[in-house]
Every structure is written in C-alpha cells, then in structure tokens.
C-alpha cells in the first residue's frame, strides 16, 4: 500500500536486568493494513506492544511515525500520536454504561457539567462508523454485554479519539465462534477505514482471515515480516516454534534483521 509505513521501529533492544527480551527488533505497520504480530509465549509480543505504547522505555532503537522520528516515553506520548492499545482484559467498568466507558477519563463537558448528549452522539456515530449493530442501547451497563460486545466497545473506545494506530492484544481469545467472526469483521473494517491495525493473536485461522502482513517474533527477535499472501499456514507455525522456515527466518540469509544471531546462539533458551 503506502510507501512509508505509519509506524516503523528499527533496532529495538529491551532488557529486564540480565534478561534480554527484545533483540534488534524491526517492525512496521502500514495505514489501511492489518499487521498480525505472532509468536510463542515469551517471544516478546507484549513487551514490544508496551514499548510502542510507552509503558516500557526501550534500551536502544528508533521510532518513526508517519516518516518522522519520534520518541515515545509515556502512554501520553503514544496517545498524542494517535496510538491506542486495547488490552486483553479490556479495562471496562462494569457499573458504567457504554457511553460512559468510551469517554472515561476524557469526558466532554460544558462548564463543569458533563455534556451527555454530545458524548452519546459521538459514541453513536463512532459505533455507526464501525457498522456495529449488535448493541441494543448505548445506555446499557457494560455488565450486561456479551464478550464480543465488550470487545466491540473497547475497540470503539480506542477508535473514538481519531487514532491512527490501534493495537489489539488477543481480541478473540475468550470469544465463541460467532463473536470471533464479529470482532474479526470489525478489525478488518478498522483497516478499511484507513487505520493501521496491529493484531496480536495465537489463532492462525484469525491471522490468515484478516491480516495483510504477518510479523513473527521468536525469542525476542523479529524473524520475518512478510505479506500474508506470500506465506503458508505451516510456514508461520514453523517460524513461531523454530524461528525459521525454509529460506525465511534465522537460519538462512537474514531477511530483515536478526543479523549474526545463529539459531545455535539462542537454543539454550529454547529448550521446551
């Protein structure tokens, strides 16, 4: 699609004490595309996301947003750039309704009084823009919503603020078949609306259903970032579990990075 990625990371290193969690990671996300971020447990997906969203500072590496070099030092910086993260636990208040949740912490006011009609209207427009028809009333408590509806509200909350990049952390992990389909449809629509979407998932069916690109992390290294159409199901699984597949990944000539990191160097951590 667009020549310059919306978000581009280069050479990201991150250690927690003696443990190096991210090693020279490069990652890019394009506007209008869904980029799936895959990897086994402990591969560094969550750490990478937390670096992007400003929760963790990085040890080394550069961020480019819209072609400009930026530094993200706090969640506030990330939000100012238009980066929103939907975490796995959604962070919704059960005792508040949909509108109240979507505007939590950023309420619209006129004077000191909450401007409920404006908030309700904006919420309705956002949900309509995402073609969400599954919620009955915007004034129902989140407690009464199904898992898929909650996920929808959390995603809509992230989209409400003219965000440009939305990161979804396993949005379908706890959902049934029908609800998973709904949420994936919504993810696809976000990208079609021009947002850059990063989807973290363990589910290969989901990944192949909606993503345009797949980025695979293996033990803290980005082993491949390729178009979804250029890769097969089993190749992705090999990348996740072994860090290489055919000429992709660590063993062959490094495709993008992971320079000099032979698989033998990393095997001590890979005995599982």
């Amino acid at each position: 699609m667009s020549a310059t990625p919306l978000l581009e990371l280069r050479g990201i290193d991150k250690s927690f004490g003696p443990v190096q969690v991210l090693r020279d990671v490069a990652f890019s996300a394009h506007a209008g595309e869904v980029t799936a971020l895959v990897g086994d447990n402990g591969a560094g997906k969550s750490t990478l996301v937390k670096c992007i969203s400003g929760i963790y500072p990085t040890d080394a590496g550069e961020f480019h947003f819209d072609g400009q070099p930026v530094s993200i030092n706090s969640p506030r910086d990330a939000a100012a750039l238009g980066i929103e993260v939907v975490y796995q636990d959604l962070a919704l208040c059960d005792n508040l309704d949909i509108v109240q949740n979507m505007f939590l912490g950023r309420e619209k006011r006129s004077g000191i009084v909450l401007d409920e009609p404006t908030m309700e209207q904006m919420a309705a427009e956002t949900l309509a823009g995402l073609s969400v028809r599954t919620v009955k009333s915007l004034r129902q408590h989140v407690a009464s919503l199904s898992g898929g509806q909650r996920q929808t509200v959390a995603i809509a909350k992230a989209v409400l603020w003219n965000s440009k990049l939305v990161i979804l952390d396993e949005p379908t992990a706890a959902l049934g078949v029908a609800q998973t389909a709904q949420v994936l449809e919504l993810v696809r629509r976000l990208a079609d609306n021009g947002l850059a979407v990063v989807l973290i998932s363990h589910n290969m069916n989901d990944v192949f259903a909606v993503s345009d690109r797949i980025a695979a992390l293996y033990l803290g290294q980005m082993v491949a970032q390729v178009k979804t159409t250029d890769i097969t199901h089993s190749q992705v699984v090999e990348l996740i579990t072994a860090g290489r597949s055919g000429n992709l990944g660590l063993a062959a000539e490094p495709v993008s990075n992971g320079a000099g990191a032979a698989p033998a160097d990393t095997t001590p951590g890979a005995v599982r």
Binding site: Y87, L90, L104, G105, L114, P117, S137, R139
Partner: protein, 419 residues
C-alpha cells in the same frame, strides 16, 4: 404513543423509541435482573409506617411526622457522606465519632471560647476536612485497609471527644442560630414557597433535558414518564409540606408549633448538591469508575489516589455537618455525641437505601431513603415502648437484612448479567 414503534434513521437509532409500556417493561426487567435500586427501602418504609400506625395511632400524627425528620437528620447526613466511601468499596467506621469530635469543636468554640456561630460551624467543618484528609491519605498513600484505619479512628476520636469534653462534662449549646437548625420551623408560607421552587426546578431540569435530547435525535424517556415523575415529586412534597404545616402544639395558647423543620431544606439542599456532583460532573463519574474497576480508571488517566482521598474528605465533612445538627438537636454536646448506634445507623441507612457494600453502586438519595427507614424504626419502636436493648437488636437485624438483599441481588445480577 403507546403502540407505535418508530425506527428512526441516523446513528442514534440503534433501538426503537421507547413507549410508556416499554419503559415500564424495561424497569421491571431490570428489577427482576437484580437491579432493584431503592425498591426495598421504599417497600420497607411503607410497611413500617402502616404497621406502626396500626399498632400505635400516635405514630400517625403530624407531630410525630415532624419528629421523624429531626430524629433522623444527623444519621441521614452522615450516611450521605458514607455513600461516597461505600461507592469505592471502602468503609468509614469512624464517621460517627468524627461527627462527635466536630460537634465538640463546635461547642467549645461557641460556648467556651464565645465566638459567633458561623466561626464555630466553620471550625467544625474544617475539623471534618482535616480528619477526612488524614484518613484518606492513610488509606490511599500508605495503603492500609480502610477498615483498619477507620477502626483506629473510631477509638481515637472517641478519646478526643472525651478530652475535648474535659473528661465527661457536657457543654451546652445556647446560640440561637445553632439551636434553630434542628428545633425551629420555617413559616408555613416559606415552606410552600420552597416546595414550589423545588418542583419548578426539577421540572425545568427534566423538561430541558428531554427537549435537548429530542432535538438531537437521541433516545428520550417518553414525555408521559417525565411528566409523571414531576407530578410524583409535586404530590410528595405537597403532602409533606401540608402535614408539616398543620398545628402540632398540644396547647396552642402556650406556643404554636407548625411549619417545615429548618433541617429539612438543609438535607434537601445537600441531597441536590451531592447528587449533582455524583451524576453530572466528571468527578462523580470518576468516583463510580474507581468503584467499578480501579485498574480501568487508572488506565483512563484518572488519579485513583486523589479520588480515594477525596471521598474520605467528603465523608468526614458530612459527618461534621451531622455533628452540628446533632448538637443543635440536643442543645448540647456530651462525650456520647456521635457514639453508640450513630455509625451503625448511618451505614445501615446507606445500605438499606440500596448503596452496595461492594462498591460502584449507590446514590445520595439512598442515604435519605435509608435514613427515613432507620428513623421510623427507631421512632416506632420507642412509641411501642420497647427497651433500647430490643431496638439495638432490631436495627442490627435490619442492617443485616439490607446487606443480605445487597449480596443476593448482586449474585442474581451476576447470573443474569445485568450488573
């Protein structure tokens, strides 16, 4: 109006326009789903009033009706502050004796030191703010469970009252303005005027809101429901003012006793003000959010610690107001002011009214409704001639019953997914 279900175009039309029937239907469904709100309190209030009226005809008199307000005022005011603490799922066991400390400060400033009444009231309220700040900081910043912090406060404040009272002597409060708060009445005309202002204000707010939402194409409650609410308030206020304006002196030649007790508009004003804060400001929204899911609130950029401190400040400040009213009613302050059953009555009032002990659910109105139930029990049992031992047991059982209803409705709500 009653049969047409119009599907409007536009983003807001995610649900059909509600009719009176569907409105009632929705309400009934919420109740069945465990979102019972103030229903138990209202039912209990009606049942108690009918029961006591049959058992003791003297319960059902204008004089006793007026007594209920002055008897329940202090507990109701303390309960209004407690609602904020309970909304976060915390508890303030020291609220009773905090009101005692504030009342003792009031009495010392006005009687012993001889300052005017407004200085004394200010001193009492400031004392409340200081107490609340200390408790709140200990809970939010140090991280001690509120149960322990306020239990320690409960003991310590009891001691402070004793020290302020010079080891047990009581201090009388003779200032006319202070005594008037709980012992004098508004003139009948002023009572009617205030009731009219209240109804007109409520009607204006409700109709304006309905108009604004309709103009923007948002879902509105049916206009019939809005009008019914306004009419309901008008009937209740009208009946109350009418009864309170009846002559209740036993001997009119000696002294005439009629009108709305002054403490009633004070409670009403605070009810409106705190309800506004909770329902219509972002601060109130954040209180509910922290009570519902503190982690979500934190991620939304809300300063959870600041909210936590603030609710303890509000609670202790309202306890100070309750203490002032209690001092006014007794014409004096003694070491037991704010002690014995005051705290449990106040917690009971909030919970009976429908405020959850688990946090996230409750309204200031709950404190007033629950306070009325507690006042009726206390007053009715007194008229029946039961000993205070029986009164304690019954009030304890009622508190337990309210907490049981809270826990059960919560479980039902979890099962049906409405809360």
């Amino acid at each position: 109006m009653t049969t047409t279900v119009v599907k409007k175009e536009g983003p807001a039309a995610v649900a059909p326009t509600p009719t009176v029937g569907s409105h009632l239907n929705n309400y009934w469904r919420r109740v069945r789903g465990g979102d019972i709100g103030a229903l138990p309190a209202v039912a209990m209030l009606l049942a108690l009033c009918v029961g006591f009226s049959i058992a003791r005809p003297s319960f059902f008199t204008a004089g006793n009706f007026a007594n209920l307000f002055t008897q329940g005022a202090a507990v109701t005011l303390i309960a209004m502050g407690l609602v904020f603490v309970l909304l976060l799922g915390e508890i303030d066991l020291s609220a009773g004796f905090a009101s005692g400390v504030c009342a003792a400060v009031l009495a010392n400033v006005v009687t012993v030191l001889g300052y005017p009444w407004y200085v004394a009231v200010l001193a009492a309220v400031v004392t409340g703010v200081v107490i609340g700040t200390v408790l709140g900081l200990l809970v939010a910043k140090v991280g001690i469970p509120s149960f322990v912090v306020t239990l320690a406060g409960f003991l310590a404040f009891q001691g402070i009252v004793l020290m302020l009272m010079k080891e047990g002597a009581n201090i009388s409060v003779r200032d006319d303005t202070l005594v008037a708060i709980a012992n004098r009445n508004l003139s009948p005309a002023l009572g009617w005027a205030l009731a009219a202002v209240a109804v007109a204000g409520y009607a204006a707010v409700q109709l304006l809101r309905h108009h604004n939402r309709a103009a923007r194409g948002l879902l509105t409650d049916p206009i019939a429901v809005v009008v019914a609410r306004i009419a309901g308030l008008a009937v209740i206020l009208g009946a109350a003012v009418y009864v309170l304006n009846l002559e209740r002196s036993r001997n009119v030649l000696v002294v005439s006793l009629k009108g709305v007790p002054i403490v009633v508009p004070i409670i009403a004003l605070l009810l409106v003000a705190w309800t506004f804060v909770l329902q219509r400001t972002s601060y109130g929204r954040h209180v509910y959010a922290v009570g519902g899911n503190a982690e979500a609130a934190r991620r939304a950029g809300i300063s959870v610690d600041r909210i936590r401190v603030s609710v303890f400040v509000i609670c202790s400040t309202m306890a100070a107001v309750g203490g002032i009213v209690a001092a006014s009613r007794a014409n004096s302050v003694d070491p037991n002011t704010g002690g014995s059953n005051v705290l449990l009555y106040a917690v009971g009032a909030a919970v009976i009214g429908g405020t959850s002990l688990f946090g996230g659910k409750g309204r200031v109105l709950d404190a007033v409704l629950g306070g009325a139930v507690v006042a009726v029990i206390d007053n009715g049992m007194g008229l029946m001639g039961y000993s205070s031992g029986v009164k304690y047991v019954v009030t304890g059982v009622v508190l337990l019953a309210a907490a049981t209803i809270d826990a059960l409705s919560r479980r039902r709500a979890a099962a049906t997914g409405t809360r």
